[in-house]
C-alpha cells in the first residue's frame, strides 16, 4: 500500500474509536445526574436478581459479638425522638386484611428469633450484634398482607422512612427487632421497634417504627435514597 493509502487507512481506523467519546456524556452537567441515576438503577435491578431469598446471612458466635456499649449509634437526626412507650402502636395500612393499630405485645407474641449478625454500614465499617425479635414475615402473616404485594414501607418517629422489596421482607432473618443482646431495645438503638435486616445495608434498617404499609407501588422510597443512595442495596 502506498503512503497516502496508509494515512487514509489510519484515519479511518482512528474514527472507528468514536464510540469511546460517548463516555463524555457523563461530563455534561445536564446529562450526568440522569445517567448516574440510570446506572444506580441498573445496579439495583441486578442486585434484586442476585438476591437469593433462601440464602442466609452468616451468623456468629457470642464470643464474636461487638460489645453492646461499643455498638455505634448512627441516628440520622436525633438519638431519641421521645416516644412515649405506653401510647406507642404500630399503624398498619395498605394491602392487608387487618389494618389498624398493633401493640408491642402483639409483636412480642409472635415467635421470637435471636441472631448474631453483621450490621454493615454504607460507610464501609461493620459490627456484629445480637438482635432479637419477630420475623417480619410472621407479622405480615398476622396482618394478612396481600401475598401479591411488592413493597413494605415504614415511617419512623424521627421522620425517617424506608421501603423494602417483598423478597427481603419475607427473608427469615428480617426481623421486627425489639431486643438487642437479649435486653429490651434501648432508645438510642430505636426503641420500641426497629428493623433488623442482615441482608441489607445499615440505612435500610429503620429505627423508631411507627407506621408500616404494604403496597403494590412505591410512593415513598427512603430517606437516604432520596439523597441519592441505592434503593435495593442488598448485601
Amino acid at each position: 500500500m502506498d503512503e497516502k493509502k496508509f494515512r487514509q487507512n489510519s484515519r479511518r481506523e482512528l474514527l472507528k474509536l468514536t464510540p469511546v467519546l460517548a463516555l463524555g456524556a457523563f461530563a455534561i452537567p445536564g446529562l450526568q445526574e440522569g445517567l448516574l441515576k440510570k446506572g444506580l438503577g441498573f445496579s439495583d435491578w441486578a442486585s434484586a436478581r442476585m438476591f437469593r431469598p433462601g440464602h442466609l446471612a452468616t451468623t456468629f458466635e457470642n464470643s464474636e459479638l461487638t460489645p453492646f456499649e461499643k455498638f455505634p449509634i448512627n441516628g440520622y437526626d436525633v438519638d431519641d425522638p421521645g416516644i412515649i412507650f405506653e401510647n406507642w402502636t404500630l399503624t398498619v395500612s395498605g394491602a392487608v386484611q387487618k389494618p389498624g393499630e398493633y401493640t408491642l405485645a402483639q409483636v412480642r407474641a409472635l415467635p421470637r428469633y435471636r441472631q448474631n449478625t453483621r450490621h454493615v454500614c454504607v460507610e464501609g465499617w461493620d459490627v456484629i450484634g445480637r438482635f432479637g425479635g419477630a420475623r417480619l414475615s410472621d407479622f405480615l402473616g398476622l396482618i394478612g398482607a396481600d401475598p401479591a404485594a411488592r413493597f413494605v414501607t415504614v415511617n419512623c418517629a424521627d421522620d425517617y422512612y424506608e421501603s423494602l422489596d417483598m423478597a427481603t421482607a419475607m427473608h427469615p432473618q428480617t426481623l421486627l427487632c425489639y431486643e438487642m443482646y437479649e435486653r429490651p431495645l434501648t432508645r438510642e438503638h430505636g426503641a420500641p421497634l426497629r428493623l433488623t435486616i442482615p441482608t441489607k445495608i445499615g440505612y435500610k434498617q429503620a429505627k423508631y417504627l411507627t407506621d408500616l404499609k404494604v403496597s403494590h407501588v412505591l410512593d415513598r422510597v427512603g430517606y437516604w435514597e432520596d439523597q441519592g443512595y441505592s434503593w435495593f442495596y442488598g448485601l
Partner: protein
Amino acid sequence: MSSSVIEIIEKKGTDEDPVAVGRAVYEHPLVVRLCHWINAVALFVMVGSGLQIFRAFPSFGAKIPQKDLLNWPKAFAIGGWLGGGLQWHLTFMWIYIATGAVYVAYQIFSGNYRQVLFTHRDVRGVWPMVRHYFFFGPKPPAREAYNALQKQAYTGAIVLGVLSVLTGLVVWKPIQFSWLGWMMGGFHYARIWHFAVMWAMLAFVLGHLVMVILHGWNNFVSMLTGWKKDPEY
C-alpha cells in the same frame, strides 16, 4: 511473530518501481482498542470514586476503634460525597466489567491472546529484558509485538482486573458472595484486598505510561489506529 497483518508502505517513485519507505503492522484489532480506551476511562472513574467511598471510613476492619489510616484529599476523589462516589462506582463498574469481559472473550476466540498472554515460553526472555531495562544490558532483539516483560505486565494487569472485580463483589455483596469472601479471608480482608489491588493497578498504570512515553509516537498511535509504523520486529 503474531498473526498480525504486515504491510509494506511505499512511496510512488515510478509506477513500475515504487520505493519502499517503511513497514507497518496491524497490532491492535478494533475490539481491543475500543476496550482499552473505554476501560481506561472506567478505571480512572473507579479509582476516583473508590477513593471517595474510602473517605467515608478511611480505615479497615470493624468500627472499633475507628482510626483514620489515611486522610485522602477530596480533590483526588470523584463524586463529591459518599452517595455521589457510590453512584459513579456502581455505574462505571458495569462499563469496567463489560469492557474487561468483551476484551477477554475476544482475545480468546480470535486467538489474539497469543500476542499478550505470558506463558512458560516467555520465561527465558524475562532476564535479558530486565537486564536491558534496569541494568544497562544490551537490547534483546524484538521478535514479536510484545517482549517478555510486556507480556508479564499486561497479563498481570488482566489478572488484577479480574481480582478487582472479585474483591469488589465481596465488599458490595458479602452475603450473596459469601463463598468468595471466605476464600479471601472474610469480609474485612476483602476490603483490604480490594484496596491493595487498586494500588497494584495504579502501579501498573504508572509503569505503563512511563513506557508509552519512552517508546515514542509510533507506538502510542498504534493503540489508536491499530497500525504500528516501523516496528522493531
